[in-house]
Structures are given as structure tokens and as C-alpha cells.
């Protein structure tokens, strides 16, 4: 069968629909047309909660740094924790901006890409978690100081601090390479798929796969 014949079949189908398809007006009138799409609204609410939480955290860290300005190690730890909080905050703000740009009357490829970027939000937190690995002591130093008023740094052995700094500095470059790999463009690499799948779950994985399909489709 040639494509022209297929088109003839569709033309016959069109004629059939012209004759036999009708609108059930009573049923249409019964739909609550003013109901908005619940799913987008729910995601938007979650992201707004995230913005509020991260903003409060950023304010708290700012205040903490100001109050401990004379203690360099607490300021450095506070700045590191604050930096990660700001990345998370900007990620959530970006998500709200994306959600507000989702308009189904716009071209399909653009909208699908925005929707799938919203669905891959979990990956940002996984990346932040990995990125925090070399500086995890900053969280402990700030937490123990604030919650229990214990200054861990002053009780640390200078040798331990030096070893910690050297080992973790060495981790930074491989870690950045690793995080760059955790991208939808690298899903063909087995360990990337497994890592993302393990830490983010099926929904994020499917969204990343679809982002790949979109890229293929655009090219």
C-alpha cells in the first residue's frame, strides 16, 4: 500500500466522521469547565514551599555568618552552607518560572521540554548532595555550633584538618566530572543510568529519557 492510498483511507475516514460524528452537547455542558489542571497546581505549591524553606534557611545562614564574623572557621563553614542553600533556592525559583511558562497553546517541543525539566527537579538535589561530599564537615560544624553550642573546629586535631582539606580538595575535580556526566545526554552510559535511576527514581528517569527523545526529534 502506498502512502497515497493511506491518505485515501483517511479521506474516507474523514467523510465518515463528517457524516457520523456528532457532539454530545449535553455531556459537554455537564463538564465543570472551570476546573484547572490539578497536577501543575500541586507541583507549583511544592516549589513555593521549597522557596519559602530555602529563603528562611538562607536568612538564617546570613544571620549566623554575621553573628560569628570574628570566627573565621564558622564564617567559612557558614558561607559554604549558604552557597549550597542559594543554589537550591535558585533551582526552585527556576522551577516556578518554568511552571509559569507552561502554556499548552505554545509549540509542542518547547512546552514538552519545559515540562520535562520540571519533572527532573529531583536530579538537582542529587547533584547538590554529591557536591556537598567534600565539604560535609561545614554542615556538621555549623549544626553542632548552632544546636549544641559546641565548636568542633577548635577541638579538632590540626593534622586531621590538614588531611581532610587535602583529601577533599583532590575529590573536587573527579566529582565535578562525575556530576557533569549525570545528564540526560549521557543516559546511554550504563553507570550514569544506574546512578540516576537509583537516586532519583522512575519519574525523573522517564523525564530524562524524554528530554533525550526531544533532542533527537529537534535534530
Amino acid at each position: 500500500m502506498e502512502t497515497e492510498e493511506l491518505k485515501n483511507i483517511l479521506a474516507a475516514y474523514d467523510t465518515k466522521l463528517d457524516k457520523k460524528l456528532s457532539l454530545n452537547v449535553a455531556s459537554l455542558k455537564n463538564i465543570n469547565l472551570n476546573k484547572s489542571e490539578k497536577n501543575t497546581q500541586a507541583i507549583l505549591k511544592y516549589r513555593i514551599v521549597e522557596i519559602v524553606v530555602f529563603s528562611l534557611l538562607a536568612l538564617f545562614i546570613g544571620n549566623y555568618i554575621a553573628n560569628n564574623w570574628s570566627h573565621t572557621h564558622l564564617v567559612v563553614s557558614g558561607v559554604i552552607v549558604g552557597f549550597f542553600t542559594l543554589i537550591a533556592l535558585s533551582g526552585s525559583i527556576g522551577q516556578v518560572a518554568l511552571l509559569n511558562q507552561i502554556d499548552f497553546s505554545k509549540p509542542i517541543v518547547d512546552i514538552r521540554k519545559k515540562i520535562e525539566f520540571v519533572n527532573t527537579h529531583g536530579l538537582l538535589f542529587v547533584k547538590l548532595m554529591f557536591l556537598s561530599t567534600p565539604i560535609w564537615w561545614s554542615y556538621v560544624v555549623v549544626g553542632s555550633d548552632y544546636l549544641f553550642n559546641i565548636d568542633l573546629y577548635s577541638n579538632m586535631n590540626a593534622d586531621f584538618v590538614l588531611k581532610y582539606l587535602v583529601i577533599n580538595s583532590l575529590l573536587i575535580i573527579p566529582l565535578i566530572w562525575f556530576l557533569c556526566k549525570l545528564n540526560y545526554k549521557n543516559l546511554h552510559i550504563k553507570w550514569v543510568r544506574k546512578t540516576i535511576g537509583f537516586f532519583t527514581g522512575l519519574k525523573t528517569m522517564k523525564a530524562l529519557e524524554f528530554l533525550n527523545d526531544i533532542e533527537d526529534f529537534k535534530n
Binding site: L6, Y13, E37, I108, K203, F217
Partner: protein, 169 residues
């Protein structure tokens, strides 16, 4: 007398009902889900009705919304089963069935074509539908958001695929 907004909307849906009907049938292999999808499309069309941009053809605007909703619906693991909330049990579209031989043959060919379409991914499915609807490359590019050249390349690939798939029929 001037029509109310809702009456205008119903009139527009009636004029373009085939678009929704075909998209729903192409994206929903499961008959039970079709009512949900057609109603979801109607709700999105209603919510965007005031924002219709007259720079585009009404059908272009409608295709974009209906296809975007259908792709979202298709990609959702858990379907929007909110029947008790705002969905009707009845379908919005009615089609008269006919048992003639001619009709049976048409239905057979349509079934084969729909099976072929079901096996395409979400975006190629949209492209295929628009191609079979004989939309111009320019309109397809506008609906999908890709270049005209890209549309032409993809359509030539689809033609080959179609030829291969239906060569023995």
C-alpha cells in the same frame, strides 16, 4: 443575537470536533481512558479560550493544545481518574456505527494504521497525525516548534516507514 462565551466555545468545538476525536483515538489505545482524555482536552481548550492568538489558525491553536494534553496524558503513569470529581460517564462525541462491508474494510485499514501510529513515540505520533491530516509543512512546523526543513526530513522518513509497514497490504 450575540452568543455567550460558552455557546461560542461549544460552536467552535463542534466545528473542530474531528481534531479532538482523532487525537484521542491515536493517543489512547484504551477505550476507557478516551472519555477522560477528551474531557481533559476540552477543559484545557476552555481555559485557554480567552488567550487564543488570532495570528494563528484556530486549528493550529487547537492542535497544539490537544496534542500537548494528549502527550501529558499518555506520559502519566497514573491516569487522571477523577470521574467522581468532574468527569462525566458519557462521552462528548457520538459516532453512529454502520455494519456495511465497505465500513468494515475501512475500519480494518484504520485499525492497522492506528496500530502503526500507537507504536511511534509521542512526538513522532504527533508528526504522523499532522502529516496524514495533510497539514502544510509550515503549519506542522508551527504546531510542533521545529523547522520546516526538519519537518520535511522527518516526513520523508515516515513515508519510508509507512511504505515498509504497509507493503504487504
Amino acid at each position: 443575537m450575540e452568543l455567550s462565551k460558552k455557546e461560542q466555545f461549544i460552536k467552535t468545538i463542534d466545528e473542530h470536533k474531528k481534531i479532538i476525536y482523532k487525537i484521542v483515538n491515536s493517543y489512547c489505545p484504551n477505550k476507557d481512558d478516551r472519555k477522560d482524555l477528551e474531557q481533559e482536552i476540552i477543559i484545557h481548550l476552555w481555559n485557554s479560550f480567552d488567550k487564543y492568538d488570532s495570528n494563528y489558525k484556530y486549528s493550529t491553536w487547537m492542535y497544539r493544545i490537544a496534542l500537548n494534553v494528549a502527550i501529558s496524558f499518555y506520559r502519566k503513569e497514573k491516569k487522571w481518574s477523577l470521574k467522581n470529581d468532574f468527569y462525566n460517564e458519557e462521552s462528548i462525541f457520538r459516532i453512529e456505527e454502520d455494519n456495511s462491508e465497505e465500513e468494515a474494510q475501512l475500519d480494518y485499514h484504520l485499525k492497522l494504521l492506528q496500530e502503526f501510529i500507537h507504536n511511534l513515540n509521542e512526538l513522532n505520533k504527533a508528526l504522523m497525525l499532522l502529516y496524514l491530516e495533510e497539514k502544510s509543512y509550515e503549519e506542522i512546523a508551527e504546531i510542533l516548534g521545529i523547522t520546516k526543513t526538519n519537518v520535511a526530513t522527518k516526513i520523508s522518513r515516515i513515508k519510508l516507514k509507512l511504505k515498509k509497514e504497509f507493503k504487504n497490504i
